[in-house]
Point group: D2
Chain length 244, copies 4
């Protein structure tokens, strides 16, 4: 199996502005996730952040990324439209994309799905979340129990304005009374997308083993495969030729 | 709009064996549902029960049913295989089917979906259920708020062993910590199926306005439409003829 | 049943620039379709075209449209981005949308679906198309045989770069050797979308009864229904309150 | 990557009754497919046929099969119901299943999907089939062009009475004027199913490189993964405990 090249993209603002968040993620959410993934054989990890030139997503970086992980929140509007478009093209050409938590409101996610993906219910009270597996045969659920708990999380609740996912892997239950489609896959162009809900910056979510396991599983699942040739444009009729 | 002929099928055993259930549904669950539907313009309601000859589902009854509603629980095994098969054929030919609550374990539902639909978690403690709408544009959700509550219900929890529904309309939240895909549509053959979770016999679920509204909506949604012709079997090539 | 207000939008350039197209559609494609729909009880028909102010899609027109039909080809790029955005919002709020033929390459369709919907194979040779029904129970297929033929059409061939449709209703066969997913439904937000392939401007496609029947069926299918309430944003926990 | 244990099941009657078929497949279709798969690293191949005791599908064989390939035609009715049921259970528990060509009419396929999967159009004239890739990013399409041709095949045409597939990978075009959904995936229970159309016994289909490549790709795709735990039955409420 060949190496999967992962780029973990993080807005990286909360960690610099908020001491509490910084205490949880001293080097940023991107490094918390990246460090975990670095321990998995066959993965090669890079990071990129909003405030780097071109948000760290140069043509070269994108060309050398098999799976992109996306965490953003405060500064969705600051992400450049031309870079969103370049990333979208790469996804449609086959790059895997994993969108985490508040990344649901990013330009990139909305651009790829077409609906107002920023719309949902939320409550930032640090309540219990229980994440239930509804598709236990899916590789993204490998190695999990029938559910796992996150002791303190921000609540996200339905109606989440997404297209019905191709596969619904997880549904979350929240102590305060809501539910949420927390693990959703989409195939777009030749690319595979996975949205995974957990990850509020004020809690140590990306230090929790089950959450990290899911992200690792998703990286393997989203990695590109050769696929078939795609040809577009004007065509000569091939039928008569074929029968000759 | 032409009349929709509905047959409400009920196992009708709990009501005869259990005084508490009888006090909630003196004439049976089928009449509670049937009485509500009778008040909707354009519906014509009949009932059928397990202990009638042929379970009340004679060829004539089936031929004159546009939408069949199914409630069963104790006596799934007593339903005759040949009648299950006849009902299945009618569904595949276009009759709508609404399966309620414990009907998930019926031979009919399992036969139409192919998986072990009887498998799920459950707990009969009379806890709060909150039913969330996840597909608010669907006609089965017409007239609802963004969720509704059932004060005391039996819990059903995931993993529910069904094929991924064509459309997921409702997800339930339970006080005890579980979630459930509570409103699921399937298209099978020319027929439309809807599974709707609420309805434990020891609580007055089928007297609750929101639950009845959903059933009424589902009847309209599941009613057959003319559709297109279906032709099977050996065919002559039509291509050369067509070009002539 | 209440009236469905339909607006037929047409780019309306071919008909003004090309005498052959004008001879087929003297008043434009929009009127050919509109005239047919006007004959269906319960529909109220308006039209709009690219070169009208705001492309004929003012706030008032959009607010009074239940189902929008879209035909465009030459001038996709001339459609204003802000109007595309307004139409998209209306679709996500529940307005039905029927995209015809070369409308696959429109900004609106691409914006709502997220993929490069302009990509497909094509050949403008006027060959036989046979449109097969693969979902015969669907209301969009009402009244059709198991297939219908279009004697001379432009070919569109796969790979068509769309998200997998929620429902695939038609697949086309072309004389020259290609196939195409010709009837695709999507639910986006509260709105229902239908893509229907036939309709090259140089052939009298929108005078053919089967094609018109499908468009009429699709209008009924795509019309908005009340649906359920949608609430977004920060929420108080409703659980404790509910149990009180 | 661990070894995938494949069992190729073949009815194996045509080859014994028909000299022409025997000349194409002297050791049977199962060995033609098995020989190809044996050349792929990481696969371990066994075979089983109808006329062996228990159709060659003993508990031991099933327990040691990761992916089962199924070819049947003449003798669907002779397959024992109890063995169909055992195979179905194994699939729902995670075993992959690849159903080939006339296997669409098998008890096993119909039992797992619930519809009348035997219903389709057919014509045994040996005409050109062109198999188009509609989901080029899918691993089952790895290494293909945008289509491939089978010079002489039996035609299968729509309406094919299957539930809408989870993923539609291939659509076939036939010289005589029909189309067919030729590559369909389904997830049922923890198992992955793939239906692949080509394979009439009177033509050397299973000697053709593209057809074999697809089968090999599908074996890898259908192989079980660990997945998540599945727990069913009566549950204590876990919520209060969790918060303690």
């Amino acid at each position: 199996m060949s190496t999967i090249r992962v780029t973990v993209w993080n807005e990286y603002r909360h960690e610099k502005q908020n001491q509490h968040v910084a205490s949880i993620y001293p080097r940023g959410i991107h490094h918390a996730i990246g460090d975990y993934l670095s321990g998995i054989e066959g993965l090669e990890i890079g990071t990129a952040t909003l405030d780097e030139p071109e948000h760290g997503l140069t043509e070269e970086v994108l060309a050398n990324t098999d799976v992109l992980i996306w965490w953003g929140h405060l500064a969705h509007a600051e992400v450049r439209d031309d870079i969103v478009e370049k990333v979208r093209e790469r996804v449609l050409d086959g790059m895997g994309l994993i969108v985490l938590h508040s990344g649901h409101g990013s330009k990139l996610f909305e651009r790829l799905l077409g609906t107002r993906t920023g719309r949902l219910k939320w409550r930032d009270d640090g309540e219990l979340e229980r994440v239930w597996v509804v598709e236990p045969g899916h590789p993204i659920a490998d190695g999990l129990g029938d559910c796992f708990e996150i002791p303190k999380e921000e609540m996200y609740g339905e109606r989440f304005d997404i297209p019905a996912p191709d596969e619904l892997i997880f549904i979350s239950w929240f102590e305060g009374g809501e539910v949420f489609r927390s693990g959703c896959t989409y195939r777009r162009g030749k690319g595979k997308l996975f949205y995974f809900r957990p990850g509020h910056e004020t809690f140590p979510i990306y230090h929790q083993p089950e959450v990290l396991k899911v992200i690792g599983n998703a990286v393997r699942w989203a990695a590109p495969n050769p696929g078939a040739a795609v040809i577009s444009g004007r065509m000569e009729p091939i039928h008569p030729t074929s029968k000759a």
